[in-house]
């Protein structure tokens, strides 16, 4: 293994390749910052360029683009509440409130540090555990995915503030309903398309995310203009970015969160089909459940842990998804699927033979992950104040910019004007729901997981001849299922004890009088 690392190092430390990492990170960050253009698009755009520079350099360039795009995606989630890719949705829950409170600099710094640590821990684990984990991940069957996604859905309990549980459930169901539009995944018939060819492929995630988050946000600014607006125009030369420095206490608070989430993220990322999105939601939910009571209430209102958890988890998961790609030739996510295509185009077959046949590529990819992470940190930390200046803009300008970028973002991906009309419709509905204090995050979660859970559930039912026995037939499935039930019941316990305390207090009060 040591020889391998040295081989990888010598490849990456070549001047040209170092330059590719830097260029890749830079290009990736800019593409990723545009709402709607995520790592998949960024890498797809790079593939034709990489043909001419060879496999090692090509993979190194792409690793840089990949990390850059993920970091860039978090930037738009945090600053303008416009999560361009599913993996950074959870980052906006606490990142955006932090930015709103004038801590944009700190939020971006936390995102950068957490991503760096998550990515680095992921890269180390990848190196050490790749062959071992590959075998484990392969034994995951459809029923296991069903319960794993069910566990992801129990995160709703984590999104609901006090008294909002029912509202959160309603929004989840709404999200699940939206996910059923399109072609039925197992029988191939049309569902809820109303004969519209534009609805055949279902509603795109990007459209729903942009409409419910970015566009609705902009509309709220219009409907409820804040009185501070006049002030913020005057203040625009000295914006409230806040410092990018973290205090010792804050680092101490977040350290265990980052460690746990990185590990969790990596494991989830290794499973083909789970990926960064589920990893980030699960990390967020876990941290909220583990947090002491005083900190728990801060989740969703600008908790540092709530930002650090998904950020480290999604980066670790991205690295984790390279395990099945490099060792088995099976892509675990959309991004690694594109990478697989690129590798094959170089004439390299990922799989168990890769390490023996093309050791320089195998190790260059792994070592370039460290470098990608380091370069990203060095490159982006000094740039944070400039990114954050976006917030210093007067609301009236920012609102229009959000409108512009979210509409352009959706249009650039599909080139379909129908999507724009549908998006405006969704945004109006979301506006009403937001004013009525319905949370939007469960809607997105339900929407993202809806499609995956349905496919896996129906497949499981087919495999087991229509019986639900798959839930307890295999120990792996059963244990994940039990864990998710416990997670679901956990907040209920709090609820009951709280009630008892209230009742006791009431009784004591009555006795007193």
């Amino acid at each position: 293994m040591f020889d391998g690392i040295m081989l990888g190092l010598s490849t990456v430390l070549d001047w040209n390749n170092l330059l590719y990492v830097i260029v890749g990170c830079f290009v990736g960050t800019f593409i990723g910052m545009l709402p709607g253009l995520g790592p998949i698009t960024a890498i797809a755009l790079m593939i034709p360029i990489t043909y001419s520079i060879g496999a090692d350099s090509g993979m190194i360039l792409m690793a840089g683009v990949y990390y850059g795009a993920i970091f860039g995606g978090s930037t738009s989630s945090i600053l303008i509440n416009a999560p361009g890719v599913a993996g950074t949705v959870a980052s906006s829950f606490d990142g955006y409130p932090l930015a709103k409170q004038g801590h944009a600099g700190k939020a971006l710094a936390i995102a950068a540090y957490s991503s760096f640590i998550g990515g680095t821990i992921g890269a180390i684990l990848l190196m050490v555990a790749a062959p071992l984990l590959a075998k484990v991940s392969l034994s995951f069957q459809s029923p296991d995915y069903v319960v794993l996604m069910f566990l992801g859905l129990t995160a709703i309990a984590a999104f609901s503030n006090k008294g909002q549980f029912l509202k959160a459930m309603m929004m989840t169901v709404f999200g699940l309903m939206l996910a059923t539009v399109g072609i039925d995944p197992s029988s191939g018939t049309e569902r809820f398309t109303f004969g519209q060819a534009d609805l055949l492929d279902g509603i795109s995630f990007l459209l729903v995310a942009m409409a419910t988050f970015a566009l609705a946000e902009a509309l709220i600014n219009v409907v409820r203009p804040e009185k501070k607006e006049v002030k913020s125009i005057n203040d625009s030369d000295t914006p409230q970015i806040g410092s990018t420095k973290l205090s010792k206490a804050e680092v101490k608070e977040m350290a265990p969160t980052v460690g746990r989430s990185s590990l969790l993220g990596f494991i989830v990322g290794v499973l083909p089909g789970a990926g960064a999105t589920i990893a980030s939601f699960m990390a967020y939910a876990t941290e909220r459940n583990l947090a002491p009571k005083a900190l728990k209430d801060k989740f969703g209102k600008g908790s540092l842990r709530g930002l650090a958890a998904p950020e480290s988890a999604n980066n670790a998961a991205c690295t984790g998804s390279f395990v099945p790609l490099l060792t088995l030739g099976i892509p675990g996510s959309g991004t690694t699927a594109i990478m697989l295509g690129a590798l094959i185009a170089y004439g390299i077959q990922p799989g168990p033979m890769l390490m023996e046949e093309n050791p320089s590529v195998f190790w260059a990819v792994i070592v370039s992950m460290y470098f990608g992470n380091i370069v990203l940190l060095i490159l982006n930390l000094p740039l944070i104040p400039y990114f954050a200046k976006v917030l210093a803009m007067p609301k009236s300008v920012l609102t229009i910019m959000i409108l512009f970028f979210s509409l352009i973002g959706v249009y650039l991906v599909s080139f379909n004007t129908f999507d724009l009309f549908m998006m405006v419709g969704f945004a109006l509905v979301a506006l009403v729901l937001r004013i009525l204090a319905f949370p939007m995050a469960p809607l997105l979660l339900g929407f993202i997981l809806g499609d995956m859970i349905e496919r896996n559930f129906r497949r499981s039912m087919m495999l087991s001849d229509g019986s639900l026995s798959f839930l307890w037939e295999r120990p792996l499935t059963l244990s994940i299922f039990i864990i998710s039930i416990l997670v679901l019941l956990f907040p209920l316990k709090d609820f009951i004890t709280q009630r008892r305390v209230d009742k006791a207090a009431l009784k004591a009060n009555q006795e007193h009088t």
Partner: protein, 327 residues
């Protein structure tokens, strides 16, 4: 504020650059490819590979690409029909699904609404089992199915009624079994179906040869049979269904279509260029890199094979109940 405008400017240039790369409908190009799906898919790599070959071989000065996904490819077809030749020289890439989706009514057009230009490459159906599977040959699979049709779970990377399912059903039918009793388990993508096979929840994978080779070369699985008419010169060790005594043959072609009102001289130009490409080392490089197999057919021959495939698929789909027979 200066820095702000700077950031904004770079934002703008990136948007501009991204939109140019993604669409470039206005770029002056000698040849413009329309891809009915997103970047990175099979259609996309075909168009970009052919474009690369044409430019590198010096047949074209320039090639541009436009991705237009939606409606299972229907949106791009509608765009090509509506804009006709007004938007310049557009070649749309497509493959077997254009025939299949027209038959099932998923897209309201067929290849007859367009000008078929030429087919370029082919992929064949292939059947794969895990290395430790008890089925050593295709005959073993058929024997097991004859005993109990439900005992063999067949995975495919797409919904029921799509290519992987129909190819498997046809293969089973050629052995005298009822295609409707085939136990087909749909996955959302080829990669997921592969993972399903390797996890052991299904016994057989029905997929394209190029994907099958990916798993087989990984050393995890074996290819039992391929649906090409003749033994493939590149892979003589894989038996064809025909050589095993089953009368079944299936080709998944990929080719190019142009607007319905394409003038005859333009068509001749396109055909000439694509024909010329066949013999160049640049094309051979692209082809070998992607593991494609050549299947160059000019317009008339191409249309003939399209008609043949349409008839073949229609029979299977009617039998399986995916299209209602008019009686």
């Amino acid at each position: 504020m200066k820095l702000l405008t700077k950031t904004f400017k770079s934002f703008k240039t990136t948007v501009l650059a991204a939109s140019l790369v993604l669409s470039s409908p206005f770029a002056m190009a000698d040849i413009h490819f329309l891809v009915p799906g997103g970047p990175g898919g099979g259609w996309d790599t075909t168009a970009r590979g052919v474009g690369e070959g044409l430019v590198k071989a010096g047949i074209e000065d320039n090639a541009s690409f436009q991705n237009m996904s939606g409606g299972g490819g229907g949106r791009a077809i509608a765009y090509l029909i509506e804009s006709g030749t007004k938007k310049g020289d557009i070649l749309m890439v497509n493959s077997t699904p254009i025939v299949l989706r027209a038959l099932s009514g998923k897209i309201p057009y067929s290849y007859r609404d367009l000008t078929p230009v030429a087919s370029m490459i082919a992929d064949y159906g292939a059947f794969v089992v895990r290395n430790d599977s008890p089925y050593k040959t295709w005959q073993d699979v058929i024997a097991a199915m004859k005993k109990d049709p439900g005992s063999v779970k067949v995975a495919g990377g797409s919904a029921r009624g799509s290519m992987d399912h129909l190819v498997a059903a046809q293969a089973v039918k050629s052995a005298g079994l009822d295609g409707r009793r085939l136990r087909y388990i749909p996955y959302d993508a080829g990669g997921k179906a592969k993972a399903g096979l390797l996890s052991g929840e299904v016994n057989l994978l029905s997929t394209g040869l190029s994907e099958a080779l990916e798993v087989a070369n990984g050393g995890q699985a074996r290819i039992l049979a391929v649906t090409s008419g003749k033994t493939l010169p590149d892979y003589p060790q894989i038996p064809t269904l025909k050589s095993l005594g089953y009368d079944m043959e299936f080709v998944n072609w990929r080719g190019f279509f142009a607007a319905p009102n394409l003038p005859a001289e333009k068509l001749a130009q396109y055909t000439e260029k694509l024909r010329k490409l066949q013999t160049t080392p640049e094309w051979e490089a692209v082809r070998a890199r992607n593991g494609w197999l050549n299947l160059f057919q000019e317009k008339d021959q191409f249309i003939k094979s399209l008609e043949q495939q349409e008839a073949q698929l229609k029979v299977v789909m009617e039998e399986l109940g995916f299209i209602r027979t008019l009686r």
